[in-house]
């Protein structure tokens, strides 16, 4: 019975709204053509380049009912060949340096990269470790950094929307 009550238009999704503190750092001049192309349909490939999975837990919340990124036309894909945007987390460990680069090369143009978390930007708490090759920006060109350890799902969403230069909707239903 609980299944059928779901048919009634009641969803638990929260409206996005604008954020209080600014966790976004736009790193590069973002390709206008790409933004126009991905405005309404964006395929995201998530790459874990050695992260502690704290960011992954936040990212996985994005597909859940509360944050529901699909309402913005985004969805996760299984292969970088299908992807438009790479969502990279983690300080890039030595073992993940080449795979990350290969993932970037396996993604068709035009493409965007959003690096999530403090580790992705500055290697976070792992800075200087023997196992770390450098921040994500040292391996692949990054368009937007989302700071936080881990950043909230709303910040990650806003980071992606910023990469698309989309107006953050005030109320989304």
């Amino acid at each position: 019975m609980a299944l059928f009550t779901r048919l009634l238009p009641s969803t638990v999704t929260e409206p996005l709204g604008a954020g209080e503190h600014d966790a976004l750092h736009v790193a590069r001049e973002i390709d206008r053509r790409a933004q126009r192309l991905f405005g309404r349909a964006l395929a995201i490939r998530e790459v874990d380049a050695g992260s502690c999975n704290g960011c992954e837990i936040e990212i996985s919340g994005l597909t859940g009912p509360i944050y529901d990124m699909e309402r913005f036309g985004m969805h996760f894909v299984a292969s970088p060949r299908h992807a438009d945007l790479l969502l990279v987390t983690g300080p890039v460990t030595r073992n993940m340096e080449v795979p990350l680069r290969k993932t970037y090369e396996a993604t068709p143009d035009p493409k965007l990269v959003v690096a999530v978390g403090d580790c992705a930007r500055t290697c976070g708490v792992f800075r200087g470790s023997y196992a770390v090759a450098g921040g994500v920006g040292d391996i692949v060109p990054v368009d937007v950094f989302v700071a936080g350890c881990p950043p909230e799902p709303t910040d990650i969403l806003r980071g992606i929307l910023a990469a698309l230069d989309r107006r953050i909707p005030e109320v989304s239903r």
């Binding site: 779901r6 309404r40 349909a41 009912p65 699909e70 036309g73 299908h82 438009d84 068709p108 239903r173």
Partner: protein, 314 residues
């Protein structure tokens, strides 16, 4: 062109055009059932349009077969869409191919897609090809026997004639043979279109993939054609289930009113099937790969019972 030829072309374009919308409806319904807002119904159209602009990447040693396969798969699927009665019953195009032709055209698409999975030499593609061909091979006897059950009551394998016969004799629609055949074909639909519980279309774990694994290497417009073909395949299977088993609404005469009614009836039937699919996919978990043959043998037994019931009831 004559009126019937125009109508056949319109039917085909309707299937091709509405198929992504049907996929969008299913996605939206699933999202709502999960308490989310979900993507807009027109989302698959946007995704296809975006994919057309992306560059296609092809592996170094992939052959011409890899690049030709999206066109072959799309062409066979559209040909099937042309042969399925969507709006009207008595069109001459149904003489070009009957139910057996439809089934084997779909098998042809699967054949080439499996080859394209093997072509880049990646283990995922090989795995997807192997599993897809296994399931296709095991679904074939179910389809064959179900065709027998349908052809039995209609004295024909011609799709238009099956639908027409059912319209003329409504009592056969609720005969046990038909209900069993519907159940068997519904399970086959899930297997052939790669939906839960046979295959999860949105999985990211390669080891759980069947259909998706063969698409992992595709990008750009090739991927767009293959995704569109998968949507059309779902549309076609639903249209067959709807119009062969519940044909009321199909236009027997080719008047504009009858066609409008047919369009509305089609939309209603597809909507019901989409809701059923969304409910099923939300409720049911994916079966382990080697439980799928058990599911298909259940559907085979159902089909065989359908034929026995129809034979004895003649």
């Amino acid at each position: 062109m004559t009126a019937t030829a125009w109508l056949a072309a319109v039917q085909t374009l309707l299937a091709v055009g509405l198929a992504p919308g049907l996929a969008g409806v299913v996605r939206r319904l699933k999202a709502r059932l999960q308490g989310r807002i979900g993507p807009p119904i027109g989302q698959p159209y946007r995704e296809l349009r975006k994919l057309l602009q992306k560059e296609p990447l092809v592996a170094h040693h992939a052959s011409w077969l890899f690049r030709a396969t999206p066109f072959i798969v799309f062409a066979t699927t559209v040909a099937v869409a042309a042969l399925v009665p969507l709006l009207a019953v008595g069109l001459p195009i149904y003489a070009v191919g009957d139910l057996i032709v439809v089934v084997d055209l779909l098998l042809a698409g699967t054949f080439f897609l499996a080859l394209a999975g093997l072509d880049p030499g990646s283990p995922f593609g090989g795995m997807g090809a192997s599993r897809e061909m296994t399931i296709a091979a095991l679904a074939e006897p179910v389809i064959g026997v179900a065709i027998f059950a349908l052809a039995l009551t209609a004295d024909s394998t011609n799709l238009g004639r099956i639908a027409a016969r059912m319209l003329a004799h409504p009592a056969t629609a609720v005969s046990p043979g038909h209900l069993l055949a519907f159940a068997a074909l519904f399970i086959v639909t899930l297997a052939e279109t790669g939906r839960l519980p046979v295959d999860n279309p949105s999985t990211h774990l390669e080891l759980t993939m069947i259909h998706e694994a063969m698409l992992l290497e595709y990008s750009g417009r090739y991927l767009a054609l293959l995704e569109w073909a998968a949507d059309i395949k779902l549309f076609v299977f639903f249209a067959l289930l709807a119009n062969l088993f519940v044909p009321w609404g199909l236009a027997v005469t080719l008047t504009p009113l009858a066609l409008a009614v047919a369009l509305g009836a089609l939309a209603l039937k597809l909507g019901v099937l989409a809701l059923a699919l969304a409910l099923l996919e939300t409720r049911v978990a994916k079966l382990r790969l080697f439980r799928v043959p058990e599911l298909l043998s259940v559907s085979f037994v159902l089909a065989l019972l359908a034929v026995t019931a129809s034979l004895l009831g003649r």
